[in-house]
């Protein structure tokens, strides 16, 4: 197991190298000048000579290979560079947004897991009844409704009409309720569908019939025997969704003015802030890989038949 974890962590190095190369190439190949993108259309009136000077000052006049190698050099020394736009260290910018991202991802996954598992189990146990249909319908809504719409509806209802919760922002638990519910609801939909399918599959297994035959009640059979075995694919989905959310939920962060990583990354891309884009993507990639590793390890815990040596 330890060896497995070490091997997987070692695989991080080539993956991350690939990530840096890909991000660098994409930003380099995209049309337009990085200095102009940085200034935006508000800098009308600037002369070409002044632009040249800014290009030199930011080192954009050097060739792409030199710029890339320079970046890698810094990376090896643990230096993610400095954001072009804000002049602040990239590490500080990314870590500054991470608590908000982690909080939203964590609480959204909590909402999603509770809601998704409940709906999925109910749908499987009461298969082809009204309960099943309603659960599937809720799941379908969750997948289909975009968060920028459901988010605004939640705000209209709970902030404007009822006045129970603040419409947007970050700071107290009250601020967390609406965005976590909006994200959680759409993630719950996936979890519910996977749980349902997996539960139906498991409930057909021989050992479930055996458990019932030896006189266990329906609750014990379904929750202790069937659900635990049905969880394996569900854990994968939860892990992947959580990993994805750690990369920032851009739409949710935008609608609810949540100060997470996603919005920062989108802004950085729009202004061609290469060091900030590189740093954020690297950070997100590392998190994603670690979450995936954790999912793999959890298989062994959930199912003793799975071994990694």
């Amino acid at each position: 197991m330890t060896l497995f974890i070490i091997r997987r962590l070692a695989a991080l190095v080539p993956v991350l190298l690939g990530v840096t190369l890909l991000v660098f190439a994409m930003l380099w190949l995209a049309p337009g000048d990085p200095v102009l993108a940085l200034l935006g259309e508000s800098a009308q009136g600037i002369s070409r000579a002044a632009l040249e000077e800014l290009r030199r000052a930011h080192g954009f006049d050097r060739g792409p290979v030199i710029q890339y190698l320079d970046y890698l050099g810094g990376l090896v020394r643990g230096d993610l560079g400095t954001s072009v736009r804000s002049g602040q260290p990239v590490m500080q910018e990314v870590l500054g947004r991470f608590p908000a991202t982690l909080l939203l991802a964590g609480s959204a996954m909590f909402v999603a897991s509770v809601l998704g598992l409940t709906l999925g189990v109910l749908a499987a146990v009461f298969r082809r009844t009204v309960v099943d249909h309603v659960a599937v319908l809720i799941a379908l809504l969750g997948v289909s409704v975009p968060v920028f719409w459901s988010g605004l509806l939640l705000m209209l209802l709970f902030a404007l009409d009822l006045g129970w919760l603040p419409a947007s922002g970050y700071g107290t638990w009250k601020h967390l309720v609406l965005p976590a519910s909006a994200v959680g609801f759409s993630s719950a939909a996936f979890i519910a569908r996977i749980t349902r399918a997996s539960m139906i599959e498991t409930l057909r297994q021989d050992y479930v019939r055996t458990a019932t035959a030896k006189g266990l009640g329906p609750g014990a059979v379904r929750l202790r025997h069937a659900l635990r075995n049905a969880l394996l694919p569900v854990v994968t989905v939860v892990g992947l969704q959580f990993g994805g959310l750690l990369g920032g939920a851009v739409l949710t962060e935008t609608v609810f003015a949540w100060p997470g990583i996603g919005r920062m990354l989108v802004d950085a891309i729009a202004t061609r802030d290469l060091p900030l884009v590189q740093g954020s993507v690297l950070f997100i990639a590392v998190l994603f890989i670690i979450v995936n590793l954790a999912v793999d390890v959890s298989y062994a815990v959930l199912n003793p038949k799975v071994r990694y040596d």
Binding site: P31, G32, D33, P34, L36, A37, L38, L39, G40, E41, S42, A43, Q44, G45, I46, S47, R48, A50, E53, L54, A57, H58, S83, R85, S86, G87, Q88, E93, G96, R97, A100, F148, L152, M155, L156, A159, L160, G163, P166, A167, S168, G169, Y170, G171, T254, V255, F256, A257, P259, G260, R263, M264, D267, R272
Partner: protein
């Protein structure tokens, strides 16, 4: 027990009092930095304009007044002598004197600072201290619009000793001082208790960073925000109907123009350019697509800008038949043109209307939309035909726009129309060489008349900017742009 209750009550009342003195507003994006010299970003300027001060500024009536400057004179056309207000200090206690002004402007001009807004003050050659409160600002050549350029937010006077710290811990001499900044979430300022112009009545200003306009509107209506800016036409219409909200639409410094490359063979003939001008129904664009939130344009600068010849009448009213006749006369029937624009929802909508209007007179228009940086590269190419741009005369001085668009030295940077007329060059230079307002006004009027006759561009409209606020906020002044929100005499009546 009783004492605890009293303490709690006092604390509650204190919080309440504080909340009453706090104005909450929103900006759509996290400001990249709070060092005004290191950015050219409106979200940064919205904050730095509260914390720092410039030597001059433009009054709501469009005149220039001294802010840090008590008095000034051009001792010769290339030397501006400024006497500073006496006894002003930065909020760290250091004096804002002649030496501080020199150091600040030199930092802005130093290429090592990499100031994106350096171009605004690049006319300045050197700054010299005369005595403790007097500085001379020398320009290599006479530069009459200098005062207006020194009123630009990038020219704010900063205490240079703070260096890179200004980015996150700004220190200025303005009516508000910096308290805290949670990145991408919110930024808090408090009234400067030592402000030379009198302490503002509003005790705190909280800027919440809310990217989505719909969210800002809900926050305003549910009491989470006191004032919001730049509301798009649809949402603004809804807010106008809401009696609990005060709305204002005001003319800023912007203009939206359709430019024509005057040396392109397809557009060289004046009659073709006149025909295109006659084919455009400006009021239709304004009523149908901007919901009335614009005024029809004639000269390239809106009436808010100094020396705008706003009394000049539209020489090319909407007359599709005249347009067709002019095109036929010029032998330009079946004309195919390309319109270059950058990604911007307003411009894209306007481009489509233009496409329709021009098709009515037999001109086939292709629209090419690119991201801003790529669009700018396109405008540098000589085969460009038509371009659409939304421009701001941010110094509120005619020179900023007229010189950029029509002086031959600005080809192809800003003079994308490649418009080269010796008489106009001479007039624009005369207006720079002579600080007297009367001379400048006459020169700029002539330029605007010549440009109207020659049609290197059609000014489509001057957009209106929008504000929606809670009626509890009174006395605030917005000088031509939301970034110039003046709260010095504002009050909150909660």
């Amino acid at each position: 027990m009783k004492r605890t209750a009293v303490a709690i009550l006092v604390m509650l009342l204190a919080t309440l009092a504080l909340a009453q003195g706090r104005l909450t507003t929103a900006i759509s994006s996290n400001p990249p930095t709070l060092d005004p010299q290191k950015t050219f970003n409106g979200y940064s300027f919205a904050i730095t304009n509260q914390v720092y001060e410039t030597l001059f500024r433009v009054t709501p009536a469009g005149e220039i007044e001294g802010l840090l400057a008590a008095s000034w004179e051009f001792v010769d056309p290339s030397t501006l002598r400024i006497t500073l207000r006496d006894g002003i200090t930065f909020t760290d206690g250091t004096p804002l004197d002649a030496a501080a002004v020199k150091a600040s402007l030199e930092r802005l001009l130093d290429p090592a600072t990499a100031a994106p807004g350096r171009f605004v003050v690049s006319a300045i050659d050197s700054v010299e201290v005369v005595d403790a409160t007097t500085v001379d600002i020398l320009t290599g050549e006479p530069f009459a619009p200098l005062l207006a350029h020194l009123a630009h937010p990038v020219a704010a006077i900063v205490p240079v000793a703070h260096g890179d710290d200004l980015a996150r811990n700004p220190v200025g001499s303005g009516p508000f001082t910096f308290v805290s900044w949670e990145q991408s979430n919110q930024l808090l300022l408090k009234a400067n208790a030592d402000y030379w112009g009198g302490v503002p009545a509003i005790e705190e200003v909280l800027y919440r960073i809310i990217p989505e306009v719909s969210t800002q509107v809900i926050e305003l209506r549910s009491g989470g925000l006191d004032i919001i800016f730049n509301i798009p036409p649809d949402a603004f219409e809804a807010l106008e109907a809401d009696t609990s909200v005060d709305t204002t639409a005001y003319l800023g410094w912007g203009s939206t123009m359709l430019g024509m490359n005057t040396v392109n063979p397809k557009l060289q003939d004046l009659r073709v350019r006149q025909a295109l001008a006659h084919a455009i129904d400006k009021s239709l664009i304004i009523e149908e697509f901007l919901r009335g939130l614009a005024e029809p344009g004639v000269v390239p600068i809106p009436p808010t800008v100094r020396f705008a010849a706003s009394d000049l009448e539209e020489p090319y009213p909407y007359e599709p038949e005249t347009a067709k006749a002019l095109l036929a006369e010029a032998g330009a029937t079946g004309l195919k043109l390309t319109l270059d624009i950058y990604q911007n929802p307003d411009l894209e909508a306007v481009a489509q209307v233009l496409q329709f209007m021009l098709s009515e007179v037999g001109v086939d228009l292709t629209i090419r939309v690119q991201e801003y940086a790529a669009y700018v590269e396109q405008t540098a190419k000589d085969d460009i035909e038509l371009y659409l741009t939304s421009w701001g005369t941010v110094t509120l001085d005619a020179d900023y726009t007229l010189y950029a668009f029509f002086h031959s030295s600005e080809i192809p940077d800003n003079n994308v129309s490649r418009y080269r007329v010796a008489a106009i060059d001479a007039l624009l230079e005369e207006a720079r060489d002579n600080p007297a307002d009367s001379t400048r006004a006459a020169a700029y009027r002539d330029v605007q008349e010549l440009v109207l006759a020659d049609v290197p561009m059609v000014t489509l409209y001057y957009p209106l900017s929008t504000i929606a606020k809670s009626p509890v906020l009174q006395g605030e002044i917005v000088r031509f742009s939301w970034i110039n929100l003046d709260l010095r005499n504002a009050t909150l009546a909660r």
